[in-house]
Symmetry: C2
Subunit: 116 residues, 2 copies
DNA sequence: GCTTGCATTTCTGCATTGTAGGAATGCAGC
DNA sequence: GCTGCATTCCTACAATGCAGAAATGCAAGC
């Protein structure tokens, strides 16, 4: 993100997937595995879990997402989950990416035979 | 482009900018400098000309664009221009990128406070 | 109390893409 | 031949994309 705040293509998808699982209401549900599943089910984009995490980590370092560890005494087994959410900057970044592309697409729908 | 045909964020923008200058009617007008200008004027994305060319070159190697050199006896000075255009794969790639994102955005407009 | 199993995160390493800057090219005009 | 201009090409490095395997932490069965 060359200091102008431009994000990569996978970063954008991960941000959107994260926003979606949040939008479903349960804040607690947004962690690595669910983000990955959302990407796969909704966008048909099948990335490895390792790819999801490194993207998430890098975005946290840039301030686009934040994370916190789950409750200390989990009744379920496994490592403590790490819950993620978008920061304001994260929201701004997806908005910027979108409007940049929208401006380029504007008036082009017919010219490229994009199936609506 | 990990063989699944997914393109990077700049690749997508360059493809769209290229399509736009084509859509303006004059096929001859689509070369490095005009693509760069379109990106800057239309999307506000200011990349160096070197960045545009390496992106274009890499996409040509992947079959997303093709290029041909301009007329052999140019009355204007300067290196011969290299005219670019999208291939079918290029068109397909922007379409895929778009529909993937559209599916993730669907129903999210209100949830993220994206300004229309 | 050891072992197996499961859900999850973390680590490591490499491939691909993004990016700038400056060198090279080719012509015109002086 | 030198200067100027428009353009492409080359080089090198930084950032992002990506997968696979290792580690972590708990529970259950034995």
């Amino acid at each position: 993100m060359g200091k102008d705040g431009f994000i990569g293509s996978l970063e954008e998808l991960v941000l959107l997937a994260l926003a979606r699982v949040h939008a479903r209401g349960d804040d607690e549900a947004a962690y690595g595995m669910t983000v990955r599943r959302e990407l796969e089910e909704r966008a048909g984009r099948d990335v490895s879990i390792g790819a999801v995490y490194s993207t998430l980590d890098r975005m946290e370092a840039k301030g686009l997402v934040r994370s916190r560890l789950a409750d200390p005494d989990p009744a379920r087994g496994g490592r403590p989950r790490r819950y993620f959410s978008l920061t304001e900057e994260g929201v701004a970044a997806v908005g910027q990416a979108r409007s940049m592309r929208d401006r380029l697409w504007d008036g082009l729908e017919g010219a490229l035979d994009y199936p609506g």
